[in-house]
């Protein structure tokens, strides 16, 4: 019988197995992500936490097991449908290298909206609002290379949030930043996600970053030990 908590989960991984050649990365990994929560995925290097995130986001397909978003099985979707889902319902923040260097920060944030068919003026207006909320309005006209690491990550967060996704996947979003900048990113990021109601799946090996989450799940040897969800 399904757990009563599984019913109200927005995103679930059920008994995922995935191997890279002879190396098992996930072994019976299960996880539930609820709407609006910040969930930290913790665990040592090579434990499978990034692989699990990629499966949850539909970037990787597990060898067996299911990932469901809003009740829909990701593996039963066509590639095109999964891509559309990633564009419209999911947002992504990585450690670095995610902004287009040839575009200004404003254009970078506006890009997901433009790809979704929003007009240039409207997209840039929304992008400017998000840059302001992430306290990086001053780099709007600059290229990513001209912004500091912390500013660049806040631009990346703005870009992840601009389409108002329901889940944001963040893989070591502060991994390349010092403590102060890392904390500023996390404070603004989690506050903004909370305001929009987006769930955040946060991969981190840093406890101080995980402390911005509502609960944590520990990944070890491809298995997940999940802290109980309390509404």
């Amino acid at each position: 019988m399904a757990s009563p908590m599984a019913d109200d989960a927005l995103l679930t991984a059920e008994d995922l197995h995935l191997s890279f050649g002879p190396t098992p990365a996930l072994s019976s990994a299960s996880l539930r992500v609820h709407a609006g929560e910040v969930l930290a995925l913790m665990g040592p290097s090579g434990s499978g936490k990034s692989t699990l995130l990629h499966c949850l986001a539909g970037i990787l397909s597990p060898d067996s097991g299911r990932v469901r978003f809003d009740g829909h099985d990701l593996s039963a979707m066509s590639d095109a449908r999964r891509s559309a889902l990633r564009r419209t319902e999911f947002g992504f923040v990585f450690q670095f290298g995610q902004l287009v260097p040839e575009l200004s920060c404003l254009e970078n944030v506006a890009l997901p909206l433009r790809l979704a068919g929003v007009g240039r003026r409207q997209a840039q207006r929304s992008a400017a609002e998000w840059l302001d909320r992430l306290e990086v309005a001053d780099v709007a006209g600059k290229r990513p290379g001209q912004a500091s690491g912390g500013q660049g990550q806040r631009v990346a967060v703005a870009r992840a949030l601009v389409t108002r996704p329901r889940v944001i996947f963040a893989d070591e979003p502060t991994g390349a930043l010092d403590s102060l900048n890392g904390e500023r990113v996390m404070r603004l990021f989690t506050a903004a996600a909370q305001q929009t109601g987006a769930a955040v799946v946060l991969v981190t090996h840093e406890a101080r970053v995980a402390a911005y989450s509502d609960r944590e799940a520990v990944v070890r040897d491809g298995r997940v030990r999940e802290q109980e969800y309390v509404r």
């Binding site: 040592p44 404070r187 840093e206 101080r208 402390a211 520990v218």
Partner: protein, 179 residues
């Protein structure tokens, strides 16, 4: 969170008196504002500490007309200033934590065939719970709150790193501790 405990209260009060003489009440308020952080000193503790400092010649009393402790103004003596300077110049002893309760628990869990990984995960959850609380308090607080919470957060983070490392070495540790 109180950041000054035990014997340090005496030094802290003494140090605060270096900026000028104060009544006991005023001194307590001054202390609470800077170091109390939700846990104010009791008046009894303030006056018993001042009595000790007085007895040791580290403060002196400038009495004003009237009765009661509130009529006394405390001033630091030159011996008191020397004590404060010595206390400030003395580095705090880093705690090696070698005999921590947690280490004892892990070893005992391994020795008795219990799940030591479970124990470590439980501890991690407890540490993170406190870290979340401190992170929230930090977000709502002023600079003093932020710095005090950061101090606690860095210590908790160090513990968590130890928990991770120990979790990764449990098999090795089990081989060593089991007879």
């Amino acid at each position: 969170m109180c950041i000054v405990i035990g014997m340090s209260v005496g030094f802290a009060l003494l140090g605060l008196l270096e900026s000028g003489p104060r009544h006991g009440y005023d001194l307590k308020r001054f202390y609470d504002e800077r170091f109390g952080h939700g846990r104010a000193l009791h008046y009894g503790q303030v006056y018993s500490t001042l009595a000790r400092l007085l007895k040791n010649g580290l403060v002196e009393v400038e009495s004003e007309p009237g009765d009661g402790p509130e009529r006394k103004r405390y001033a630091i003596t030159s011996a008191g200033v020397t004590d404060v300077a010595g206390w400030l110049a003395q580095p705090e002893k880093p705690e090696p934590y070698l005999q921590s309760t947690l280490y004892t628990k892990v070893v005992l869990a391994l020795l008795t065939g219990r799940d030591a990984a479970d124990l470590l995960d439980g501890q991690r959850a407890e540490h993170l719970r406190l870290m979340r609380e401190l992170t929230r308090r930090k977000s709502d607080g002023d600079l003093a709150d932020q710095l005090i919470c950061d101090h606690a957060l860095f210590h908790l983070e160090a513990d968590l790193r130890w928990l991770e490392l120990t979790a990764a070495r449990l098999d090795q540790l089990a081989d060593q501790v089991r007879p």
